[in-house]
């Protein structure tokens, strides 16, 4: 089941977050590993519904807080965040690709939230691969105890034919 929510501040800056569930059927097309098939994996989509300029820190912090709450409530949840490489994003650092900017922003959000909330049991697993000389980024966010499983999943994705 997909889950969606929006974070809104007093200036009507709104970020929508959509969590798309990878059902066993989708995962079953790439693996028969029971440890992987038993995981609750969600793809994370972030979309700015309204607002201009930089997204406020409080809004980003609230996005992180809600995602971490969901992981805490259902400990076997794993978030996969694939950084969009096909649409541009406003940014000062034009030497960065859109996907690198999104990846860095996601990591900064995660690190800032973890540092300020004494979160030590979650991992932000960043994976970078090259496609025709261009870097692509995807993240897994999960409890540390699932580190082996996400590395297995990553290896399956990388080796699948």
């Amino acid at each position: 089941m997909d889950i969606s929510f929006e974070i809104r501040n007093e200036k009507d800056d709104i970020i929508c977050v959509v969590l798309s569930y990878y059902d066993a059927l989708s995962l079953g097309s790439i693996t028969t590993n029971p440890a992987i098939l038993s995981l609750n994996i969600y793809d994370v989509t972030l979309w700015r519904k309204s607002g201009s300029g930089n997204v406020g820190h409080k809004v980003l912090n609230a996005v992180c807080k809600k995602l971490m709450e969901i992981i805490k409530q259902s400990n076997d949840t794993i978030f996969c965040f694939v950084c969009d490489f096909s649409t541009d994003v406003p940014r000062r650092h034009r030497d960065m690709s859109p996907q690198e900017y999104r990846s860095n922003l996601f990591t900064r959000m995660f690190e800032s939230f973890a540092r300020h909330n004494d979160v030590y049991d979650l991992v932000n697993d960043v994976n970078i691969y090259e496609d025709n000389g261009e870097k692509r980024y995807f993240h897994f966010i999960c409890s540390l105890k699932y580190l082996n499983e996400i590395h297995t999943l990553r290896d399956i994705l990388m080796e699948s034919k």
Binding site: I3, S4, F5, E6, I7, R8, N9, C16, V17, V18, S20, I30, D43, T45, W47, K49, K58, V59, N61, A62, K66, C80, V82, D84, F85, S86, T87, T107, F110, E111, A114, Y120, L122, V123, N124, D125, V126, N127, I128, Y129, E130, D131, R136, F138, L144, R154, L157, M158, E159, S160, K161
Partner: protein, 44 residues
């Protein structure tokens, strides 16, 4: 904790897999642009 892994020489199917996910993201965004409501709102 953040870990970074750089993957050398991924298989061609990786591109297809992740292109598919990005396409799915665009479909999700299109639904939102067309007025689909989120399940709940958090005010900060």
């Amino acid at each position: 904790m953040t870990q970074i892994t750089i993957i050398r020489n991924p298989s061609p199917s990786v591109k297809k897999f992740f292109d598919g996910l990005v396409d799915k993201k665009h479909q999700q965004i299109k639904k939102l642009e067309e007025g689909q409501e989120c399940n709940f709102t958090i005010k900060v």
